[in-house]
């Protein structure tokens, strides 16, 4: 690609440097419009309806009625500017419509025109505008350049949640028949086949059996990856990308090894073979509920007692925050455990209890950093302590790898950047947006690569993993520099009775006990 050299140049610099303004530079970026079949499967009109303006305004009215928060977000912005330089899509593109305040105003100006007295009487004085075809095109373009990562919201003194505004805009567009192909086609596949990928049960079974054989060949231990086994203690729900892509699948192998060592029976479900819930991306509660109900049905049908989620960022947001509201109560699950639980919580509990043994030298060729996934970082928690969603994945990495270095503090934890592909943007026609949105993260990675020789970056989100394996080479990194957290676990874990385990002198003390704390980082930095 001709532009690649320039992109690699852009990998150097301050990740959060404010760019020169480039008005309209991203205006032509638009996702494909959903086909009638994709729309109708979700209960939306097949194409742009007659009288779409009135219908869009009516839908906005309904959303304002049902969500007081949305009205407050639309009313309360004082244009203070705190959010302007916080969005990675603005930092990477310079297009002022990607300043969160300006993106919100694309909807806010219409809200003012039709729902406020001043906007009805004197629109030009209060920034109110008619909903025209041009405005609709701006919505379709710029509300699909927001990954709903909520980094801007962190800095907003009023706590305006821009993601909610993007979701509302997408809901309105779906309601009038102008949906996004990527998200809507995928939700339809979940309803029809059970997962985003369209992986039928027969293929899923074959994939899992193949992995069982592979693990046994490699370790000598018969680690199972069971499917649809009634009476199992745990139902593991994971993004279907884990059954297909790399490095996702290497993480899946890690879950299986940890569950094997736990001795607790578990199963996947072909009915709920998807953790992702793109209903959230399109702001559709109905679709989000229908996806979530599949997980409830699978849990009930299989009679499981615990529900564990694999590495998927927005799925964990939906699971952690909304699962009970959408598909609860989950009172049939064992109250002794979090309902639901994250696989990182599960693994960390075992590490803390001294139940897992690691040979960290297996990861010695890797110098690692960690990309906090936006939905996990800013919309959920893990464990019992505040900030557990930051500490637990890092503790697992430090327990499994000798060389760990964090990226610049203003780019991680609650201030983390989106990978550039979240919120329904992970589609090829939005590649330009994805490359630009990844720029701040790529710069932060470049800095630790230069300073500490970091070679790999771990993540706990299927979207982040897929996005980075495509984007890393464009910034001069190896495509395989992105790894799953449970891939690191998989590399280092010593399975009971394994050939490796028999051969080495086993240390019963868990590595996590003495290497998992914050001190480990100092120790790691010291060996530079």
């Amino acid at each position: 690609m001709a532009g690649d050299d320039n992109i690699i140049d852009r990998a150097n610099g301050d990740p959060l440097e404010c760019p020169a303004l480039a008005p309209g530079v991203m205006a032509s970026s638009k996702p494909y419009v959903a086909a009638p079949a994709h729309q109708e499967a979700l209960g939306f009109p097949g194409q742009l309806v007659e009288g779409w303006q009135e219908k869009a305004i009516a839908r906005l009215g309904e959303l304002l009625e049902s969500s007081r928060a949305l009205r407050v977000y639309l009313d309360s912005c004082v244009k203070c500017g705190a959010c302007t330089d916080k969005c990675q899509f603005f930092l990477g593109s310079g297009d002022p419509n990607n300043m969160p305040v300006a993106r919100q105003d694309l909807l806010r100006k219409v809200y003012r025109r039709y729902f406020t007295l001043a906007g009805k009487l004197t629109p030009s004085l209060v920034g109110a505008e008619d909903l025209t075809e041009q405005v609709l095109e701006e919505w379709f373009s710029y509300f699909h350049q927001c990954s709903q990562c909520r980094r801007c919201s962190l800095f907003c003194p009023y706590g305006i949640d821009t993601a909610e505004i993007s979701m509302a805009a997408r809901d309105i567009m779906d309601t009038i028949g102008k949906g996004q192909k990527y998200s809507n086609e995928i939700i339809g596949k979940v309803f029809k086949i059970g997962n985003n990928l369209g992986l039928p049960p027969k293929a899923l079974k074959a994939t899992l059996q193949g992995l069982e054989e592979e693990i046994e060949e490699e370790t000598g231990v018969a680690v199972r990856l069971p499917l649809d086994e009634p009476g199992a203690e745990i139902l593991l729900v994971t993004p279907s990308a884990d059954f297909f892509a790399s490095p996702h699948m290497e993480g899946l192998i890690g879950y299986a090894k940890v569950l094997h060592e736990s001795g607790i029976s578990w199963t996947f479900s072909s009915h709920a073979s998807e953790a992702a819930n793109f209903g959230m991306f399109i702001g559709s509660t109905d679709n989000m509920r229908n996806v979530a109900l599949r997980i409830r049905k699978a849990a009930e049908d299989l009679g499981v007692k615990r529900l564990v989620f694999g590495e998927c960022g927005h799925a964990w947001r939906v699971a952690y925050n909304f699962l009970d509201t959408l598909a609860g109560p989950f009172d049939f699950l064992d109250p002794k455990y979090p309902r639901p639980q994250h696989i990182c919580e599960f693994t960390w509990d075992l590490i803390k209890a001294g139940r897992l043994t690691f040979d960290k030298s297996k990861n010695d060729q890797i110098r690692l950093t960690f990309h906090d996934s936006c939905n996990v970082a800013r919309a959920s928690r893990m464990g019992d302590e505040p900030g557990g969603q930051f500490e637990i994945p890092r503790a697992i990495l430090r327990a499994t790898c000798n060389h760990f270095y964090d990226m610049a503090p203003e780019t991680i934890r609650e201030s983390t950047l989106c990978c550039g592909g979240g919120g329904g943007l992970l589609t090829d026609e939005l590649m330009d947006v994805r490359i630009k949105g990844a720029q701040p993260r790529m710069r932060a990675l470049r800095a630790v690569a230069d300073e500490h020789g970091v070679t790999h970056m771990a993540a706990i989100c299927a979207i982040c993993k897929a996005q980075f394996s495509k984007i890393l080479p464009k910034y001069g990194f190896d495509m395989e520099a992105i790894v799953s957290v449970h891939q690191m676990v998989s590399n280092a874990i010593v399975l009971s009775g394994s050939r490796t385990g028999d051969a080495s002198d086993e240390d019963d003390a868990p590595d996590g006990e003495h290497d998992g704390g914050p001190a480990a980082q100092k120790e790691g930095s010291g060996d530079e």
Binding site: Y182, I186, G198, A203, D428, K470
Partner: protein
Amino acid sequence: MSAYQFNGSAVAHDEEGYLVDIAEWSPDLALLIAKSENIEMAPEHWEVVNFLRSYYEEYQVAPAVRVLVKEMTKKYGKEKGDQKYLYSLFPYGPAKQACKIAGLPKPTGCV
């Protein structure tokens, strides 16, 4: 809807070049699709495309990248058994680009 012009008839494809009706695929059409992707089909490309098609026939989905890598190793030796080799054949990714040429639907989701 756009179409490949092939043997005097139009074969419909979607916005990204994936066949609308996978039954319309033929090896000659694959050459044409590959050309539009700037790929000159060598025997190595066909090894991948043929495996994808036979896997799809059995499972109604493309194989996982890891499965593809394993199969290539088994059949054609270690030097053809890694992800990077597959990317050297299909720069836009073995899953998506090779599926397009093989006439199969695009793998969707977080991939």
